[in-house]
């Protein structure tokens, strides 16, 4: 089976260019890339797709997706999350262990992997909890979990406050060369907060946290990373204050990377408006100057990864007063369209964007895909960066419809998604 995708602008985040050409796929791998559309011998291919001058990029590797199995399948299942991912150009999901119960034993991890393999058209790699029940007391069986397929270890938004336990977990993880993902917040400061402190939260009377809580979390974690030498990834940074210690750590050679959610790149606290709970996320939306700082940090490479932080919540958990409402937003299906805002407004180039969406997360979590190199896994997304549409949340594939972009005018649509060379999502090319 040989597939040809011709007449496409190929976005190569490694070579840092966008060029018109064709790409062929054989046995699930990229077998040819030629920047020329003349002299193609169509007879060599079983199937030819004319991409009509649209854009082809490595599929998105989304780190930190919450799939609500086990425990809350009414919010999202492996099946619906995978369909959402495919429709959003996400070819690989790295899942979070903050389910009910938490994924903290090899047996529970096996359930996740089985479910993922049976029902999902896209790649799924799970993370496992760093401590049992994510309560920060006892280390999980990191070795067994790693053997069973965990690609990273995290307690998600539960911060391990006991420094002794945290440093032991990191030391043990370092001894096995495992990647640990942390949530950099000082939890005594963030406790009870549902907004960022400042004029907006004060006027609205919302309990708020100062951005310094994030910087303190980053500084604490970095001190322990320096002590233990562990591979460390910050799940999401959201404030300008936190960037300075990160830059310092990187220039000192620590093995640290950082992510940012698409919501913190495209929205700010003012979007909360009159207590719109779909904008309640964790950490809370920040000021506009923080948002701009995050965009710049993506452009200059200080922050490595953009993720959707896909967190499904049903209507009931959002139809509450703001403080009581659940945190989180779905993002698998909107991550590309929303990210393209940054391209359209000139903040970043397309190769830069796909470095953060695809290449860097694949490299950091040591996963196939994320690149357009020969012989790499053919996980690809074909999209039209210009196509405008108004998002209707009820048209999303996710079971939960809690997107902050409902009724927003967006620009950029996924046309086709390929995983392992197979088309897992396909829209007409519009001709």
């Amino acid at each position: 089976m040989k597939l040809l995708l011709k007449n496409a602008y190929l976005i190569d985040p490694v070579q840092d260019h966008v060029k018109l050409g064709y790409l062929s796929i054989q046995d699930g791998k990229i077998s040819d890339i030629v920047y020329d559309n003349a002299n193609i011998n169509h007879k060599l291919f079983d199937n030819v797709i004319d991409c009509a001058g649209k854009y082809l990029a490595p599929g998105i590797v989304d780190v930190g997706v919450k799939i609500c199995e086990p425990g809350e399948r009414h919010k999202e299942s492996f099946r619906t999350a995978s369909l959402a991912a495919a429709a959003g150009g996400v070819t690989t999901m790295v899942t979070r262990p903050d389910t009910i119960p938490a994924i903290d034993t090899p047996e529970k991890l096996e359930f996740v992997i089985n479910r993922a393999n049976t029902v999902s058209p896209v790649n799924i790699y799970p993370m496992a909890a760093l401590t049992c029940g994510r309560v920060g007391l006892e280390m999980t069986e990191l070795g067994f979990l790693h053997d069973a397929g965990a690609v990273g270890f995290t307690d998600c938004d539960q911060v391990i406050t006991n420094n002794k336990i945290m440093s032991r977990c990191l030391t043990y993880a370092a001894s096995l060369d495992l990647l640990v993902q942390g949530h950099p917040q000082d939890s005594t400061l963030t406790m009870g907060a549902s907004a960022t402190s400042g004029k907006f939260s004060s006027l609205k009377g919302l309990p708020a946290v100062n951005p310094i809580a994030e910087k303190m979390g980053v500084e604490r974690d970095l001190a322990l990373v320096e002590l233990t030498g562990v591979k460390y990834h910050f799940d999401q940074l959201s404030t300008a204050l936190a960037l300075e210690p990160l830059r310092r750590a990187k220039s000192n050679g620590l093995d640290v990377t950082a992510g940012v959610s698409i919501h913190h790149l495209t929205l700010n606290e003012m979007d909360i408006g009159d207590y719109r709970t779909f904008f309640k996320i964790k950490p809370p939306l920040r000021s506009e100057s923080d948002r701009v700082a995050m965009v710049e940090a993506i452009a200059d490479g200080t922050i490595d990864i953009i993720s959707s932080m896909h967190t499904p919540q049903d209507e009931e958990s959002k139809r509450l007063p703001y403080e009581e409402a659940a945190s989180g937003a779905v993002g698998l299906e909107t991550i590309l369209s929303a990210s393209l805002q940054l391209f359209h407004n000139g903040s970043i180039s397309l190769p830069q964007l796909f470095r953060a969406l695809s290449l860097n997360p694949a490299k950091r979590f040591n996963l196939p895909g994320g690149t357009l190199e020969l012989e790499s896994q053919a996980d690809l997304v074909l999209f039209d960066p210009d196509a405008p549409f108004v998002l209707n949340r009820f048209a999303l594939n996710s079971k939960s419809k809690n997107t902050p972009y409902d009724e927003t005018l967006m620009q950029g649509k996924v046309i086709k998604t390929f995983v392992n060379g197979h088309e897992v999502f396909g829209d007409s090319l519009g001709e």
Binding site: S197, S202, L203, K204, L206, P207, Y275, L320, P321, E324
Partner: protein, 317 residues
């Protein structure tokens, strides 16, 4: 008419003309309330439900009396003991009540934004009687009317709001209202009780009472809201009283004809000296309570007119 909303959810959305219209209307009700026969029939046949999810004596009594004097059928619901405890959400409670066809719901709730959420789900008028740390609009209106009646105007005054600003919805609503009408607002209190971002509010902030009170026309004291505090804001009640409690010494730096206000309930000896609170030369604390009933009558009266107008417009061909 300048005030043409269906609900009164906060001061933020009101323009100065609407505020003045409510105050003017309330002035008339102050006169009515001083007569022996206080009843009116403006709201007769209408049903008013008071839903207080937080303890309240004076506000609830004030709303109840206001409704009764206007002839409405008033029902008080003790929400703390009700179905909320059985797991019902606020929206379901709202829908249930709505099905009973009330005309006016008065809500107090411990969470900011909750009254607006409820207002979106019902067909009748909703009055915010305090939502979390957000707003308490009728309190700000009654404070404004009290000032206007004492000072003869409600503009170009220098007004100090003192004490626990961070936990006070009264302070927020007052700050917005008084600024809208063109007064100079000062906030005085310990740094730990100032809300974040206060420097962007366009007000003067003082930590020292005497310099803050210098030449002000009005002093509004706030209650130290211990029930909303979750740890170490001030060292002790006596140190707080020493530095920020209002007494005659501190008040001496204000204008001679300064008036002293307090939304109640007062902690005598914590934020205000007991004798000063009773000093008829300065204290208008009892006037606030009196005017409060009238302001709430005015709000209900105007809201019911707005609703009947909207219905009339809808029915028009």
């Amino acid at each position: 008419m300048a005030f043409c909303d269906r609900h009164l959810l906060g001061i933020e959305k009101l323009d100065p003309a609407a505020i003045l219209e409510i105050l003017n209307c309330a002035d008339d009700y102050v006169d009515l309330n001083r007569q022996t026969k206080k009843n009116s029939t403006i709201l007769s046949g209408l049903t008013q439900i008071n839903m207080f999810f937080e303890n309240s004596t004076r506000t609830q009594a004030s709303f109840e009396l206001a409704g009764k004097r206007l002839g409405a059928d008033v029902m008080n619901m003790a929400m703390q003991a009700s179905s909320i405890k059985k797991g019902e959400t606020l929206i379901d409670t709202a829908l249930t009540l709505n099905a009973m066809n009330p005309d006016l719901i008065v809500v107090r709730h411990p969470q900011s934004g909750s009254v607006k959420l409820l207002a979106e789900k019902v067909n009748c008028s909703v009055i915010n009687a305090g939502d979390g740390l957000h707003e308490h609009p009728t309190q700000a209106l009654l404070d404004a009317l009290t000032i206007r009646r004492a000072k003869g105007r409600i503009q170009r005054l220098s007004i100090a709001i003192c004490g626990d600003i961070a936990h006070s919805r009264v302070a927020r609503s007052n700050l917005i209202l008084l600024s809208k009408l063109g007064n100079r607002v000062r906030l005085i209190g310990p740094r730990t009780l100032m809300p974040p971002g206060i420097s962007e509010f366009g007000v003067e902030v003082f930590e020292d009472m005497r310099s803050g009170l210098n030449d002000v026309d009005v002093v509004m004291m706030l209650r130290l809201q211990k029930e909303r505090m979750d740890g170490s804001f001030v060292p002790s009640a006596r140190e707080y009283y020493h530095r920020w409690g209002l007494d005659n010494k501190k008040l001496a730096s204000a204008k001679k004809d300064v008036i002293v206000m307090h939304p109640g309930p007062m902690n005598r000896g914590v934020e205000i000296d007991g004798t000063l609170a009773d000093d008829i030369n300065h204290s208008v604390i009892q006037d606030q309570v009196e005017v409060g009933v009238a302001v709430r009558m005015a709000v209900m009266d105007l809201l019911s007119r707005n609703v009947s107008k909207q219905i009339a417009n809808k029915d028009a061909p």
